[in-house]
């Protein structure tokens, strides 16, 4: 798992040191604070490690990283990722299972990273990024745009997910650790998604009936995606899952159930990074942190340009999302009592 990270001049973030991370890590903050940016740079970095020396992959870690950053952020030169107005270079460093991965580049860098150190052993596990928008009904468009036309529009988080979902089911029994989580996912879903080779599209199967995926709700698609990735063994207990806005398209009751499943998966080994705006997500995770003694949930919170790290075991952090729920309450009190 990612033990900790330390970054400087990354997109909108001037400086952020995570401290010890947990199996579930929550990133909260206002719009534009850099939550998605942070998720994406962590994702591009871990995908670099996962691709490096895999099979017959000939490229250097530095070449893979440039490719990952280019297609994840869709920028003409990777120097654009350096914080605007910063005098110094972008610096990225994380510790993964006790080993270091670090790199640095300046704002004029086009596609050549000179400073990169990778001490992490090649790994077999896959990590994945679940963006807020669903990909199932767009998968043909995403593949065409990226694989055939090589155009910007759907970044790597979308393409990787489309490809991961298409991976056919691997032989062998599913991981026991995932059995309970998948059972809970199935209860939420009341059906399964499957790829129809003839129609070249995703379908939703409920009993004997099949529906085009476009007729199912966004929430069903979201839960189905996680279920499929666990079922086709793309993910294993060493995977890292990044979820941008886990609350998107989900009713608060479904958010709670979804997060319970995430907690189960975290206990089986998967590491999660969740970026959220939602009071329900924060509140539910705080309850999970209180309930499960062995699950510490660091919360990395941005208020304006100021990042703070706390732990949900200590209760809800001071943050503008929490403050807004209190502000609404105060507004109601004022309307009633004057």
């Amino acid at each position: 798992m990612i033990d900790s990270f330390d970054i400087k001049n990354v997109g909108p973030i001037e400086s952020l040191k995570s401290g010890p991370l947990g199996k579930i890590n929550l990133i909260i903050g206002t719009n534009g604070a850099g939550k998605t940016f942070l998720l994406k740079i962590l994702y591009a970095s871990i995908k670099t490690i996962e691709e490096y020396k895999r099979g017959n992959e000939p490229r250097s870690a530095s070449d893979i990283l440039v490719d990952k950053l280019y297609w994840t952020f869709e920028i003409d030169k990777i120097g654009s990722l350096v914080k605007k107005g910063a005098d110094e270079a972008l610096q990225f460093e994380f510790k993964f299972n006790g080993q270091d991965f670090l790199y640095s580049f300046g704002k004029d860098t086009i596609k050549n990273i000179q400073q990169l150190e990778n001490h992490i052993s090649p790994r077999k596990s896959n990590s994945i990024f679940l963006p807020p928008k669903e990909v199932l009904s767009l998968h043909k468009v995403i593949l065409k745009s990226r694989e055939r036309d090589k155009e910007f529009g759907f970044d790597n988080t979308y393409l990787d997910l489309v490809k991961a979902l298409m991976q056919s089911k691997q032989r062998g029994k599913n991981y026991d650790a995932f059995a309970k989580s998948r059972h809970s996912l199935d209860n939420l879903l009341d059906g399964k998604i499957e790829y129809d080779e003839k129609l070249e599209s995703w379908q939703f199967r409920k009993g004997n009936q099949k529906f085009p995926i476009s007729l199912t709700s966004e929430g069903i698609k979201k839960i189905s995606i996680l279920d499929t990735l666990l079922g086709n063994r793309y993910l294993d207990t060493e995977s890292v899952i990044f979820i941008d806005e886990p609350e998107a398209a989900l009713h608060p009751a479904a958010i709670s159930k979804f997060l319970d499943i995430i907690a189960m998966l975290a206990e089986s080994g998967i590491q999660f990074f969740l970026a959220s705006h939602s009071y329900f997500v924060i509140k539910k995770l705080a309850l999970i942190a209180q309930e499960k003694e062995n699950l510490s949930i660091p919360v990395i919170a941005a208020d304006n340009d100021n990042w703070k790290v706390a732990n949900l075991k200590d209760g809800l952090p001071d943050n503008s999302i929490i403050d807004e729920s209190i502000r609404l309450y105060e507004e109601e009190v004022r309307l009633i009592l004057g």
Binding site: L287, L316, I322, V333, I336, L337, G338
Partner: protein, 174 residues
């Protein structure tokens, strides 16, 4: 009528009756309640606040409350508060309509106050509670009291305050 009485101290908070006893109906200490109190839970007091959007406040004070996550204690607590508020409303209306023998319990101002379009606020004050804990509590009491509020009409509401808000924002306690 005007009462001469001891200071009202409930759950460790002393209430301030800003405009004197004309605006007060001390539910718990009323003669009408004393005669029926066996098995009847009652809120503390009722205040007339003509300057407020919700002009009649029925108030219950508590020194603590269980957290929402401590079931079933939390549900029992909400049930108890709901019962107290509902009984308080009925006791006030019964007095207003002079249905009890000791019907001269209400002040002249309260007895003559036209009620047909008055909004009621059901105010729960919890000593020492932090604001973030009040938010779910207000939702829970509001939900539990909703059938009564809808039946009573005129958009009555539930408010949950801590002692700091009751003192600083609403001058309810000293």
């Amino acid at each position: 009528m005007t009462h001469s009485r001891k200071p009202i101290v409930e759950s460790g908070m002393e209430f301030v009756i800003q405009r004197g006893d004309q605006q007060l109906f001390y539910l718990e200490e009323s003669q009408a309640y004393k005669e029926i109190q066996e098995g009847v839970k009652m809120a503390e007091l009722l205040l007339l606040r003509p300057e407020s959007p919700y002009k009649i406040w029925i108030i219950e004070a508590k020194s603590s409350s269980p957290r929402p996550e401590t079931q079933p204690k939390f549900n029992e607590f909400i049930q108890e508060i709901t019962e107290k508020f509902a009984n308080a409303l009925i006791l006030f209306i019964a007095n207003y309509l002079k249905r009890h023998q000791n019907h001269n319990q209400l002040s002249e101002e309260l007895q003559n106050y036209p009620l047909h379009d008055v909004k009621f606020a059901f105010v729960l004050i919890i000593k020492g509670h932090e604001k973030p804990w009040l938010v779910p509590l207000q939702e829970a009491v509001g939900k539990s009291l909703r059938p009564l509020l809808r039946t009573w009409g005129q958009s009555s509401k539930v408010v949950v305050l801590n002692d700091v808000m009751a003192r600083n924002d609403h001058k309810l306690i000293s």
